[in-house]
Every structure is written in structure tokens, then in C-alpha cells.
């Protein structure tokens, strides 16, 4: 009797079942390892190749003309352009996005219009950014604005704003929905009108989460290249007006990546390091904002 159960409990599983378990475990870990390897390789290379070129000059200088040695070289203008266009895009998309989200969570709720807005926003967030660039090209670049027709910071910012809008709308709605219903009722019971309730209670208490969403949207568009390629284009000089071709870090990385000049390739790597730093810091900041409260 004892020996019978002894065998029953301690007998190993059949070879095929063990093989399946250990085999699948190995495969899954191995494949996950590949993914991690790719990530670490990207990060490692950017540091290895980008760090040597990271001097104070890169923030304050223009790209040196090719072939000239000993001249300070950098991409201050590209940083300027990225910050400028992302800032304009934020100014355009955030107010509109937050108001749309307020409509969704406070007024439209599950009505037909609100559901259509949600649907359209999730579709819009999936439209390839190059298509948004094409749209901005047709709407802004080909149009004459303030007596100017052509590539401009405005066109680039417009494209980025279109990309940001659905991200802001969807994340803000989530943030607003988290505000407890009782707070709205309590405010209304004290005689506040809907504008007061919405802004003083709902938006105010959701502000950290809204900020998180906005920061994530900013992080996302800071690295966008495709929608800027033929809207803002590029330029080798400092920015003087919104209505001129405008440089950006991402387009600069693209342009210099294929350059035959080592100095330009070096700038591309260093710019990658700076851009990645900006994106990661914004990402981290977004986590920090919600964790604090």
C-alpha cells in the first residue's frame, strides 16, 4: 500500500510533459531576452556614440559647416525648433483636448455624440503620423498664411497638435472619470453652476492626472519625425520667425544619419542622446506628478 502511493506521488511526469514545460519556459525566456537585448543595445549605443560629442557647445552652436575642424559645432537651433514647435502644439491641443474631454465626461457621457467623439479620437490616435504630416502639408504648407506660403514652424506645430489631440482627450477623460460623483453632487448642492463645478471641483481635483496625460503626449510628439519632414522641413540657422523652414532634433538626426561626414553622424548620435533624454525626463516627470498627490 505504502509503496504504491510512494510511486504515485514521486513518479516524475512523463518525458513529453516535462519537455513541454521546460521547452516552453526556455523559449519564452529566450524570446523575452531578445527583446531586452534590442532595448539595451539601443540605449547602450546611444550613450556610447552620443556621449563623446556632448559638450556645452552642442546647446549653444549651430552645426559647423562640413569640413571645418576646430569650429564649435552643435544643434542649438534644432533644440530651439523642437521646443518651439512642441510648445505651440501643446498650446493648440491642450485647451481643445481638455474641453472635449470635459464634454465627454460631464455632458455627453454615453450619448451618441460622445461615443462618436471617443471612436473618432481612438481612430485618430492610430492614424500614422506621416499621414498627419501629409494633411498638415496640404492644409498649412500649401496655403498662404500671413503672406507666406511654404514650410514653416507653424505647419510642423499644427501636425504635432493633431497628433497630441486624441492623446490629451482620451487621457483627460480617464482622469475626469476618476473624480468621485459625490464631489460633483456636493458642489451642485451648494448651489454652484455647472461651469463652477466643472472647473473648480472636477478639473481641479483631476489636475495631476490631466498633467500626466499632457506630459505623455508631449513626450510622444517630441520625438516625431515623419510629420515634420515636409511641414517644418529643416534649416541650418537660428529661428527668427514662425514662418520659415524650421529645424528640429528629430529631422536633424534623420538628415545627418545618412551623411558621409563623420562629424555630422556624430552630431546625429549626440542629438539622439539629447532627444532621448528629453523624452525620458518628460516621461519620468509624468509619473512623478501623479505619484506626489
Amino acid at each position: 500500500m505504502t509503496t504504491f502511493f510512494d510511486k504515485q506521488l514521486t513518479k516524475p511526469l512523463p518525458f513529453s510533459r516535462n519537455l513541454f514545460s521546460y521547452g516552453m519556459g526556455t523559449i519564452a525566456l529566450l524570446l523575452t531576452g531578445f527583446a531586452l537585448l534590442a532595448l539595451f543595445s539601443v540605449l547602450f549605443e546611444i550613450f556610447r556614440q552620443g556621449l563623446p560629442g556632448l559638450t556645452w557647445d552642442v546647446f549653444t552652436s549651430l552645426p559647423a559647416p562640413t569640413g571645418e575642424a576646430g569650429v564649435p559645432t552643435g544643434f542649438g537651433n534644432a533644440i530651439q525648433g523642437t521646443v518651439l514647435m512642441v510648445a505651440i502644439a501643446t498650446l493648440l491641443s491642450v485647451p481643445l483636448g481638455i474641453l472635449t474631454a470635459i464634454y465627454l465626461s460631464e455632458i455627453g457621457k454615453t450619448g451618441a455624440i460622445a461615443n462618436t467623439v471617443r471612436f473618432v479620437m481612438s481612430i485618430l490616435s492610430a492614424v500614422p503620423s506621416i499621414v498627419v504630416g501629409v494633411f498638415a502639408y496640404a492644409v498649412v504648407v500649401l496655403a498662404t498664411l500671413f503672406n507666406y506660403k511654404g514650410f514653416s514652424a507653424l505647419a510642423g506645430a499644427f501636425a504635432l497638435a493633431v497628433i497630441m489631440l486624441p492623446i490629451v482627450v482620451l487621457s483627460t477623460e480617464e482622469a475626469l472619470k476618476l473624480v468621485p460623483r459625490q464631489q460633483r453632487l456636493a458642489s451642485a448642492a451648494l448651489g454652484a453652476n455647472s461651469v463652477q463645478t466643472t472647473f473648480k471641483i472636477v478639473v481641479a481635483s483631476a489636475l495631476p492626472s490631466i498633467t500626466t496625460g499632457v506630459l505623455l503626449a508631449i513626450a510622444r510628439v517630441s520625438g516625431e519625425t515623419a510629420p515634420l519632414l515636409f511641414t517644418a522641413l529643416f534649416s541650418q540657422s537660428w529661428i527668427e520667425t514662425l514662418l520659415n523652414p524650421t529645424p528640429s532634433l528629430s529631422v536633424m538626426i534623420y538628415n545627418y544619419s545618412g551623411s558621409p561626414f563623420a562629424a555630422q553622424v556624430q552630431l546625429a548620435w549626440t542629438a539622439s542622446l539629447v532627444l532621448l533624454g528629453m523624452v525620458f525626463v518628460t516621461n519620468l516627470l509624468s509619473r512623478f506628478v501623479t505619484r506626489k498627490r
Partner: protein
């Protein structure tokens, strides 16, 4: 002042009054903004359609089947780009689906201690935040040199298979597909993991209480229960792959010829748009590019709506 206010409150009617008016106009302003947000998508579609009209009028449906893309002769055919887009996306799925599902399983099932598992999920999702132009730069200087000997070896050993029938220069559809796989991996992994973690843990326990090993439980319970969600995640990944531009442009070699060999360079719709838009001057050339953009726009719409429908209809059983 206080007296005034309270008397005001007393005299105020509880119906109508300026408050109701304010509330209603606030609602209307918001409604208009919301409608504008809806209009944005249609505006986008319409603008692209209008700009594409010259090319649509000239080439019609033959645009989709012609292989000519000659800017000087103003002859435009989209087939090489449709082909390149399809092939690179297929390669991307081939790599990203098994890896993405593996990552989802490894980060949701307790194979590894929690202190390894949670940073692991975070790291994989970090890939999604790396700008694609940076991945492309890495592709040019790291991935292509790394894959070149492998591609040459594939040609040496399996050259008799049409897929590997040419010698590579380095940049190729295979490299582009692999880089796309890296870029869509976080989408597939993160969405699949969310779906798997929402499968009730009761079911896992019940399965293993019947003597199943963890992997048997994964294949008989976990994956079937989350199948529709995983399919949705994969289709969303496909949507991203179709539209991904920069990383692909930088490693695909930008050739306008159709080649069966994956080791040959090729081109995709987004890559062509990125390359030619800045220099497009002729109305017909711009129109042809817009036509391509319209096709891409429609493709991603279809793919994303499909993903939503699959998740909704065949949705989660629990």
C-alpha cells in the same frame, strides 16, 4: 453687501434665470468643440482625398497594379510600395507576435520573482517611448552590420529558396521587418499582458488543481480565454507597422523594384512619402503621393476598426 446677497438669493427664481442660461451655453460651447473634434477626422480624410483627385482621375485603379514610378515621365504606380509595406509588416508580425506573447506571459505569470518581473514589463514598454528616428539610427549603424553576415549566410545556405535568392547590400526588407518588429513589440506585449492578467486567477488555480502544469494551464486555459484580445492586440500592432515611417525608411534601402527576395532592398508607402514629399513639385506627383497617403489612411482605418470589432464581438468570455 451680505444683506443684498441674501435678499438676491431669496428673490431668485428656481426655474430659469441666468444660471440655467450659463449652464446651457457652457454645454453648447463644449458640444461644438466636441463636434469639431469629430470633424477633424473627416477634414483630414477630405483634404487628402481632394489633393489625390488629380492622380485618381488620371490613374484610377491601375495605380494599384502598376509598377512604374517615374517622376520625370509623370507615370505613377503603387504596386512596389504596397508590396513592400505588406512584406515588411508580415515579417514584423512573424517576429513580434511570438516575442510579444512570450513577454506577456513572462511578465504576467510567476516564472520569475516579482522584483524581476515588474521592471521587466516597464523596460519592454520603454521601447515604445524611444523615437523611431533613433531606432532607425541604431538600425543603420548597429542592426544592419550585425545582420549582414546572417543575411549573407542565409543566401549561401538557402539561396535556392526564392525568399533568399539575392545577395544583400545590408539594407533590406528583412532588416526593415525586424526593426518594425522591435517597434510594434511593446504594443502587442502590453495589450496582451493586460488581457491575460484580467483572466480570473480562479481559472488558473482550478486548472492546476486538476494536475495541469503551468504551461499546460497557459495553453489550455489562459491563451484560449484571452485569444480574441490577443488577436486585437496583434491587429493594432499591424496598424502601427503599416504606418511606421522613419525606422523603416532608414534601413530598407529605398528601391522601387519588386523583388521576391527578402534580402533585397525595397520600399514602403510611408518611406516613399517621407522621401519624396519634400521635393514634390508637380501637381500630379503630389497627387500620386496623396493617393498613396489616402490608401495608407484607409488601410489603417480598416485595420483599427477591425481590431475594435474583434475585441468587442468576440470579447472576453469573463
Amino acid at each position: 453687501m451680505i444683506h443684498q446677497m441674501s435678499s438676491n438669493a431669496h428673490s431668485e427664481s428656481i426655474v430659469g434665470g441666468d444660471r440655467a442660461w450659463l449652464d446651457r451655453s457652457f454645454a453648447w460651447v463644449l458640444r461644438l468643440i466636441a463636434l469639431a473634434a469629430i470633424a477633424l477626422l473627416f477634414w483630414m480624410g477630405n483634404v487628402i482625398l481632394q489633393s489625390a483627385l488629380p492622380a485618381i482621375a488620371k490613374f484610377g485603379a491601375t495605380f494599384l497594379t502598376s509598377q512604374d514610378w517615374d517622376v520625370n515621365q509623370l507615370q505613377f504606380g503603387a504596386l512596389p510600395y504596397l508590396y513592400g509595406t505588406a512584406v515588411t509588416s508580415a515579417i514584423a508580425l512573424l517576429f513580434a507576435v511570438p516575442i510579444g506573447i512570450s513577454v506577456a506571459i513572462v511578465t504576467s505569470e510567476p516564472f520569475l520573482p516579482t522584483w524581476v518581473r515588474s521592471p521587466l514589463g516597464f523596460l519592454i514598454e520603454l521601447i515604445a517611448s524611444i523615437p523611431s528616428v533613433i531606432v532607425g539610427l541604431w538600425g543603420i549603424f548597429v542592426l544592419i552590420p550585425f545582420l549582414k553576415p546572417i543575411q549573407l549566410w542565409l543566401h549561401d545556405q538557402f539561396g535556392w529558396i526564392p525568399l533568399f535568392s539575392t545577395e544583400t547590400f545590408g539594407p533590406s526588407m528583412l532588416v526593415a521587418g525586424i526593426i518594425l518588429a522591435i517597434m510594434i513589440l511593446p504594443t502587442i506585449a502590453a495589450l496582451s499582458r493586460d488581457i491575460m492578467t484580467s483572466v480570473p486567477s480562479d481559472l488558473r488555480t482550478a486548472s492546476m488543481a486538476l494536475g495541469a502544469t503551468r504551461w499546460e494551464m497557459i495553453f489550455t486555459i489562459l491563451l484560449p480565454a484571452s485569444a480574441s484580445g490577443i488577436v486585437g492586440a496583434v491587429i493594432l500592432g499591424l496598424g502601427r507597422a503599416l504606418g511606421e515611417t522613419m525606422a523603416v525608411t532608414m534601413v530598407i534601402g529605398n528601391s522601387d523594384l519588386i523583388s521576391v527576395s527578402l534580402l533585397d532592398s525595397g520600399n514602403t508607402i510611408p518611406a516613399l512619402l517621407a522621401n519624396q514629399f519634400p521635393e514634390a513639385l508637380d501637381e500630379l506627383h503630389v497627387g500620386a503621393l496623396m493617393y498613396l497617403a489616402l490608401i495608407l489612411f484607409a488601410l489603417t482605418l480598416i485595420v483599427n476598426i477591425l481590431a475594435m470589432i474583434i475585441v468587442k464581438i468576440f470579447g472576453f468570455k469573463y
